[in-house]
Symmetry: C2
Subunit: 381 residues, 2 copies
Amino acid sequence: MQTKNSLGPVAEQFAQFDQPLTLSSGQAIEGFKLAYETYGVLRADRRNAVLVCHALNASHHVAGTRLEDPEDIGWWDNMVGPGKPIDTNRFFVVGVNNLGSCFGSTGPTSIHPKTGKPYGNDFPLVTVEDWVEAQALLANRLGIDRFAAVIGGSLGGMQAVEWSIRFPKRVAHALVIASTPRLSAQNIAFNEVARRAILNDPEFHEGAYAEFQAVPRQGLSVARMIGHITYLSDDDMAQKFGRALRNKQGYGYGFDIDFEIESYLRYQGEKFSQYFDANTYLRITKALDYFDPAARADGDLAKALVPAEASFCVISFTTDWRFPPERSREMVSALMRNNAKLVYSEIDAPHGHDAFLMEDPRYHALVRSYFDRVAAEVGCA
Amino acid sequence: MQTKNSLGPVAEQFAQFDQPLTLSSGQAIEGFKLAYETYGVLRADRRNAVLVCHALNASHHVAGTRLEDPEDIGWWDNMVGPGKPIDTNRFFVVGVNNLGSCFGSTGPTSIHPKTGKPYGNDFPLVTVEDWVEAQALLANRLGIDRFAAVIGGSLGGMQAVEWSIRFPKRVAHALVIASTPRLSAQNIAFNEVARRAILNDPEFHEGAYAEFQAVPRQGLSVARMIGHITYLSDDDMAQKFGRALRNKQGYGYGFDIDFEIESYLRYQGEKFSQYFDANTYLRITKALDYFDPAARADGDLAKALVPAEASFCVISFTTDWRFPPERSREMVSALMRNNAKLVYSEIDAPHGHDAFLMEDPRYHALVRSYFDRVAAEVGCA
């Protein structure tokens, strides 16, 4: 839904990088393109830039409407815009589509320059670390030496953490929302089931479905349904759907839809399968699974965070059972051990993991006041 | 694992019913067979019978080893046997495979007498109520007018509840373990995703896979993986598997197994797909979704339970997030409103929903002492 004071139409931009990028896997990608959008004005001192990192299924289209499609509203339009918590009258906000995604940056759906065919399953696995490396190249291109803030929710929060470790001088503030320093066994388990559903789909053709003019829709749809269950809280689902029947006459005694929740999930799954790329989904879930900065520091998260110089704002939501508050508190403990500058807030919100995308007044007030402080610091208040 | 004091080899038995059974759906089944096992001796006064109801993937093989296969140990061998909490030296214990299952009772894999082919997708949907009706016919056959206790965990607990409502005079005690008076939207959502995975499998052939000499293994496997995640607690999974890698050298940067938890889930899924029938799985998940005694009483669970005359023992487990203690407490509140005789215990156990199958000392002590009381009441102590 387009919110009040939305930015209006925004044109996407592209940055082409011709140097090879060596990835965490050891593989290299010869050259690549990043799609991005910017909102607001980069001031002459270049100190007012904010990077917004996206989560699993989102893109660089953070706010406003797409120039080509006025119905296509940015995924964080309630957070980013003129007068909004991340105020584009003050800040120069950058949204970037991650490397390996399917919304304009080079990814599995792009044409492999060597074969003239889509990369498909030949596209390498890219990690959170790789994304941050690529984002840093974009920052160079935009002349941004240091971000006033890097912010993200969920997988986006992992990128903010990685920025703080990898480029400590380039991040003044890291905002890590509804995130985790690493996936739990249960998180990985859900991702693996989602991947199985895609890999099992006969239309997947070992990732070469484009060559077969096929799309593994059913697998993608099941994967999305699984994901969706983990994004909502049990209570929220109970309140929104409960046991309401689609057909008020009673049960159907077959395998068509009986309950509203089934109808909702199938709709979400089908919609997703029409716009999201399966090879991309597989890879992004692996990036989630693999992220584990502590593993690079003998399993010690505090040690992993030692290089970070940013001030941190960590936010979690009470009903988020995907990345529950305990996971944010691990992060907070590690930062406290390091004497890092830190704000932590656990927001009592009913919407589960998806709360980070919602317009909760306490949550938005917190982000707003945090960015007021950032604005004062960088002189764009 | 066979436990100490196991019953040893047990022969399965069959009861054939030639009268038609009208089902909740309005459909009728012409005749049917129930597979069952019994342990211990039915005393002359016939007051010491205990019915054990099984959950989603189990069977009538509750305890001991199968006569045909000494490796095949009953699913509740730690609970039922000589000297065990449900002591077969005292009680005559009946395990029955539910109508529509795939372990010997008439179900989708049985031959349809009219077509000479397996029922497959023509097998009707059967509900918890239908199971209880069929179990009552078996009780008649065995000359059991009244059970000293009807007990079950999870879906088995639903059957114990239904027995208490439907046949109030025939149940002295109902033990309802790790169960719920109705599925939540989230529970239904997980079932629906599991069903989608099966229905989408090209080997499903609209349920007629037997005619195609096919088995929708991949769909069943994904369904089981989803189920399995909901049976274990997050903490238990973290302790058992954590982020341990299968290959200690590091990540594989592909879609083969990286983490132990993935390997475990795939193994569970594959094993399940080799012994469980897909049409059965679809139907049993629907029986779970449909069970809702309160819906038959204007949404009032207490009102639904008014006919019950049994004493109740309700047990839940702290880390069970499939049917968490809150769901058992709904049941307990309703029973308290009705002034029912009631014991409720919430056991602090780490194993999630699966705790009801495990040999937790506090849990087993509780069931043991409860059955001591039952034994004293019916004079088999």
